[in-house]
Symmetry: C2
Subunit: 500 residues, 2 copies
């Protein structure tokens, strides 16, 4: 093995180990940390991230990565690892320390300001902070990719090769097809009141754990806990953790949370079973978008399907006896109810992408168009009416809704919608490999889903970060990403549900 | 402020923060970590400890500490901080990296060997590893304190200024008085069968949490969890965590565990409320021995007293209704039953020190006498019979009983007994400050123990690591440590219980 490759592999393992420690600090903060320890914990996390940054930006490491770049004699997974670090050295590692410090301080202040603005429903308080963050992100974009437009540089940070040229037609296509579906559904009502009854948390948690296990989560390599916002994190190659919550009034929220997070977890758990990439930076999902496709595939495409609940519903009824008087079909319709609404994270499967497209359009304007920060709330509300067909009541359900911008995450939102599109494309290929939709249904109805997860593992999971998102989707489906599979999926599913 | 002092304070804060991260890794390992992640976690912990060691042994830090040493113009707490690091540079930091590596590897192998030997009840398997560890500790002792005898050097590592000259007469005194008490108790029997009934774990845990809170544990600055072996750890100045367990057949084991660990936790929680020392290496208990005195003070001297249970017993009976048929006095006697037994951690308050003295005598022989490793099991059994008056059945309850030696901890055991002696000395001064034992009883019987904890805080906790153990005990009690207070305490208490 070339000594440079050995150095890169060793350094990468060390950095992964340090990142796992950082992830533990964060996991503990969300699940256990005593209230008054929060500031100190933030300092500890800052300390860890500076240790990681120092380790990752050492000269010998950078030189080794550069010397290996383009070496076609390397094994596929080694080339992927070199590529991973090359991307790092082109982006994060290229930022001067003075910039990183300035950005870090700005982010700390912004988060506090966003919290206050949101609680007071007063955007003007957050506005100067947001303006500053946008300016910093423009500065960042210019440093990391001087040849690209600002927003394309940011998009690529979260999803390799993603740009406006790809997203614009995809999103236009989605708007059109979603609106056409919404027109047909119009004011057809579904009764979902049975989801909003009070429930026994302990019973529902037992059901959640059963779902988690049934999907193939390995408790000897992971753990499930509670937190205010569900998330998945990797603390080590055999230590993938998910959280869920029981704070939403809907009985279905905890169910979709656990299924969603378990979808994420299975990706990392299985990538790390591939010895060639385990314990390394490519021993995990390849991108935000592909990761989200795995969680949303389970949460929505499997976990909100009739076949899935044909098996699971009687089990759920045993845990939550008050559902015994509700018919499967009524439950199925309720969990798929379509209704334009304010809050992205609670949106139904049909209108969800419109929430993303709204943010995408605003981010494009912020970075490449002409818009004043003070015009943003009104713009949000206008886009909400046009796209989602929802009248925003106040800035808390408008411009102040998400934490992302206060965290400097511009260009991140589109990966959520990519997740839906990738997910549907994978589903379509899975169905064709299984020999038709009835075969998928039969598997779901059997309650033994290993044929599905084996397919995911063979096609997606076990490759970890070896293939770029665009290469992966081509490799699996034979073509580049489009919105067709998702459009067909929605029309078929919702035509049946709403009898269109 | 002298720039060297500023450097020392900043570096110390950073190291404390890193040590907190290391403590979190360890806490998580004992409470949550998935089974298959154990090896990786050990690597992560090794990585953190090498980062800490690197930070702590930097030349500029050492030079700053050395330049401040002996500067009488410094504030008391700053002198203590300099002294703390001076001790470090004289001990750990003086060990060559080659030695640290050799010892680390030996410890890893020894722990595995001890586990296997213990499970197979085969000391000969562990013997060569133990021999190696003893040799390594002798080497270490010579490096860190070439002027001292080997064993004195090791004793001082865990308790400043502790040596054989101090321990020999104390322990001889203890043997004599303990045997005299045991002679009187002889075969007087106490029925403690009511402690060995099956119990509702959840109810007992609720009671544990009530005790923990009643002692003054602050849930906004700490957390209680479960682990195989109870322990207390400091992850940050406002983040002190304790664990307990419900695996012992005795109903009283979880109770004494939580009280013991909460005793430890209160020390660190309150030391860190003193702004002059908070977040620093001296913002925690000063030594193992003093720390243990705070836990055993609560566990035994308060938590096994009649006055304490006069208040707490009806509450316990509410949680564990099967105790309603048991009288307070019978319960009180049961939890104080004296019986020579095999296992140190389950020993009663009277015979406990004999277990420690046995190990002390063996360690002295190992380091400064003439004994072959292969003779150790027999020696253990002989000492057990002489000291504890217990016939050891096999090496699992003999030489292979404790994990300490497999972890290279020689010279550590005596701190447990010191905890008893310090604890009794503090108790005696507390009683005199309160105006007599009846006043202490009245406080315990009231269920509001803040007068006791305030006294502890004023006299012990808030000083953290400012005073050395020997200075602290003199400062509080007006004299140096002896066994008198403990002897008097035992005789008074057990004369009443056993009607001697």
């Amino acid at each position: 093995m070339r000594p440079e490759l050995l150095l890169v592999k060793e350094r990468d393992k060390k950095i992964m180990s340090l990142k796992g420690i950082e992830a533990l600090l964060s996991w503990d903060q969300e699940t256990i940390l005593p209230e008054k320890a929060n500031d100190y914990r933030s300092q500890q996390m800052g300390l860890m991230s500076s240790i990681i940054q120092e380790e990752a930006t050492k000269d010998d490491f950078r030189r080794a990565v550069e010397s290996l770049d383009g070496d076609e004699s390397l094994a596929l997974e080694d080339r992927a690892l070199v590529h991973y670090w090359k991307r790092f050295f082109q982006s994060n590692a290229n930022l001067p320390i003075s910039f990183v410090k300035k950005e870090g301080e700005a982010l700390g202040r912004s988060h506090q300001a966003w919290l206050k603005a949101r609680s007071d429903n007063d955007f003007s308080y957050f506005a100067p902070y947001l303006e500053n963050l946008v300016a910093l992100s423009k500065e960042k974009a210019k440093i990391i990719a001087p040849d690209k437009s600002c927003y394309d540089a940011l998009l690529d940070l979260y999803e390799e090769d993603l740009d406006k040229k790809l997203l614009d037609p995809l999103f236009d296509d989605l708007i059109k097809s979603t609106h056409s579906l919404m027109d047909k559904i119009e004011d057809k009502e579904i009764d979902d009141s049975m989801l909003y009854q009070s429930y026994d948390e302990r019973a529902l948690h037992s059901f959640s754990l059963e779902l988690n296990k049934r999907m193939g989560f390995d408790n000897s390599r992971g753990y499930v806990a509670l937190s205010a916002h569900p998330f998945t994190t990797m603390i080590g190659p055999d230590d993938i953790r998910v959280t869920t919550r029981y704070t939403d009034p809907s009985i279905f929220d905890p169910i979709s949370s656990i299924v969603h997070e378990t979808g994420h977890a299975l990706y990392d758990l299985n990538a790390n079973l591939n010895e060639k990439i385990a314990h390394s930076s490519i021993g995990q999902g390849v991108s935000m978008g592909i990761h989200e496709s795995q969680s949303r595939f389970w949460e929505n495409m499997m976990g909100r399907s009739l076949a899935y609940w044909t098996y699971m519903y009687p089990i759920l009824q045993d845990y939550i006896p008050s559902l015994k008087s509700v018919k499967l079909d009524d439950f199925y319709k309720a969990i798929n109810k379509v209704k334009p609404s304010a809050i992205r994270v609670n949106a139904d499967e049909v209108t969800y992408n419109l929430h993303i497209i709204l943010r995408y359009k605003m981010e494009k304007l912020l970075f490449e168009g002409n818009v004043e920060i003070r015009e943003l709330p009104e713009l949000w509300n206008k886009l909400s009416k046009e796209l989602i067909r929802y009248d925003v009541k106040d800035d808390r359900e408008g411009i102040l809704q998400d934490v992302h911008w206060a965290g400097g995450l511009f260009g991140y939102f589109p990966t959520y919608s990519l997740g839906n599109l990738y997910g549907a494309a994978f589903r379509s290929k899975l169905i064709s490999d299984l020999g038709g939709p009835d075969n998928l249904d039969r598997i779901l109805e059997s309650g033994n889903w290993s044929e599905i997860t084996c397919w995911q593992n063979e096609n997606i999971w076990k490759h970890g970060g070896i293939y770029s998102p665009s290469k992966l989707i081509e490799r699996v489906t034979g073509k580049s990403l489009d919105a067709n599979a998702f459009k067909v999926y929605l029309i078929e599913k919702y035509s049946r549900i709403y009898d269109l």
